[in-house]
């Protein structure tokens, strides 16, 4: 049984139909034994948008993202990606999705190239050239044939990013993508995200507790606090009303966080 998103407006483009809404999260809930988790999250992310999910540690960002990519099952609700439900049509939903959830753990006994091959095999169109190109973008080409056990934390993070970007996906779900990156790496990452969104209409769903990075790159920001989505707002509107994203965040948490 495939569930196709019915309410997203459809625009006719060259070569076929395209949905305006890339990701829809409906009434998403998940409770752990310790009673923490997420509750009744509803959200829509438009195509080509860079959406940032902000929240403190333990607020449920990773839980939400794990459910989005099928690593975890929700107690209730659904996630619809490119018009397909992750629950009932996983393969279609994930076909054009790249993701990196929490810290990436590549196979330590394989090389960077072999780890990339593990992913490229799922896409007929991907060849060694594309692997090398992606490794080059993330600055790992010269370490291509080195075993991952010899990689530093930052290099593993770069490889995780390379694996997520490898298939040129339409949607990228990145959990704390700036973790472990040096200043230069963070700058390159931000540039890569904004360029892809602008040039290729790639949708980004990014979670981070690094408020500055979210402010710099995201078009829209959602605040997740104690498992609840407190607010979703355009970054330009936030920066019009508040001096910084940090002030907005603190204000939202102060007003709505305790209720």
């Amino acid at each position: 049984m495939q569930r196709v998103l019915a309410f997203a407006p459809l625009n006719s483009l060259e070569g076929g139909l395209k949905l305006d809404t890339a990701i829809v999260i409906e009434n998403l809930s998940k409770k752990y034994k310790n009673n923490r988790g997420i509750g009744d999250i509803n959200l829509k992310v438009g195509r080509g948008e860079i959406f940032g999910l902000l929240g403190p540690n333990g607020s449920g960002k990773t839980t939400a993202m794990k459910i989005m990519v099928g690593l975890m099952k929700a107690d209730a609700g659904d996630v619809i990606i490119s018009g397909f439900s992750v629950l009932t049509a996983y393969e279609q939903a994930m076909k054009n999705v790249g993701c990196m959830i929490e810290k990436i753990v590549p196979f330590p006994y394989l090389t960077a190239y072999e780890n990339m091959r593990l992913r490229s095999r799922f896409y007929n169109s991907l060849d060694d050239k594309q692997i090398d190109k992606t490794l080059d973008i993330t600055g790992l080409l010269k370490y291509r044939n080195e075993k991952i056990k010899n990689y530093s934390l930052g290099m593993k993070q770069r490889l995780g990013i390379a694996m997520a970007f490898l298939s040129n996906p339409n949607i990228l779900i990145l959990d704390e993508p700036f973790n472990g990156l040096d200043v230069e790496g963070m700058f390159q990452m931000r540039k890569l995200i904004t360029n892809l969104s602008k040039d290729k209409d790639t949708t980004f769903f990014i979670s981070s507790h690094l408020i500055h990075d979210i402010e710099l790159i995201c078009d829209k920001v959602g605040i997740l606090y104690d498992g609840r989505l407190l607010a979703v707002k355009d970054t330009k509107d936030i920066l019009r009303d508040y001096s910084s994203l940090e002030n907005y965040y603190l204000s939202e948490v102060d007003v709505n966080g305790a209720s």
Binding site: I104, R117, L118
Partner: protein, 247 residues
């Protein structure tokens, strides 16, 4: 089908890059060569004829099926499931476009391929060794049938280990529980002979059914159906648990 094929190739690549299965395969070779030397010395110098032309390969199978083959199976299945869950490398596979059902099936198919590959690898070495010892070719058809039949109970055991590995919290516990279950089931079939025919471990030597002068096909069919029943139930159970596992 393409996604299943890709996931299967990935699993094979991962296992072949691990040291443990390669070491265990090397140990099988060492065992066969050691046994060959022992049998050759006894045949040549003590006047005791230990094995005939076909018997050497069967003797090797009868020893390895209760030792190195189950150990090999435990290592690859624990690594494939519990190992990847424990170190979180499974996330790379589970965030691919392949569904969990396909990922599970690819792992099971890869395990089956390696188990069968290891069996045939030992079969070839032991058959060559047998030809060297006895200076004539063994009955290859019977040896082939025996090693092929030996695959079925080991495959059922692989499915049991997969199930344990999905439930267990870590690699050590999965490894220990798998060994314990193997020993327990073998012990149970000795203590309670009336339940023997229902335990897959007591069918580890069912290949002997093709070795006598009379081949009891109805018994072979009965055991085959029991093993197939086990395989279907364990695959369904493993699939269900694998689908529901939160990472």
């Amino acid at each position: 089908m393409e996604l299943l094929k890709a996931a299967y190739k990935n699993e094979i690549m991962k296992i072949l890059n691990r040291k443990k299965p390669v070491i265990l395969m090397a140990l099988s070779v060492v065992f066969v060569l050691g046994a060959m030397s022992g049998v050759y010395l006894l045949n040549s110098f003590s006047g005791i004829r230990v094995t005939g032309s076909s018997e050497f390969s069967i003797m090797v199978l009868s020893i390895l099926i209760y030792s190195l083959f189950p150990l090999f199976t435990i290592f690859i299945c624990v690594d494939m499931f519990a190992g990847e869950f424990a170190d979180q490398t499974i996330k790379i596979t589970l965030t691919s476009p392949a569904s969990r059902l396909k990922v599970f099936l690819s792992k099971i198919l890869a395990a089956a391929t390696l188990i069968l590959g290891n069996l045939y690898f030992v079969m070839i070495i032991s058959a060559i060794s047998s030809a060297i010892i006895n200076r004539n070719f063994p009955n290859l058809l019977r040896i082939f049938a025996s090693y092929t039949m030996a695959f079925m109970p080991i495959f059922v055991f692989a499915l049991v280990i997969a199930l344990i590995s999905i439930i267990s919290k870590g690699t050590t516990s999965a490894f220990m529980i798998s060994i314990f279950i193997f020993l327990l089931l073998n012990g149970l079939s000795l203590v309670f002979p009336n339940i023997r025919s229902f335990l897959f471990t007591s069918n580890f030597d069912w290949y002997r059914l093709v070795l006598g002068s009379y081949i009891n096909f109805s018994k072979i069919l009965r055991v085959l159906l029991i093993l197939l029943g086990y395989s279907i139930m364990l695959t369904a159970g493993g699939c269900y648990l694998f689908e529901r596992k939160d990472i």
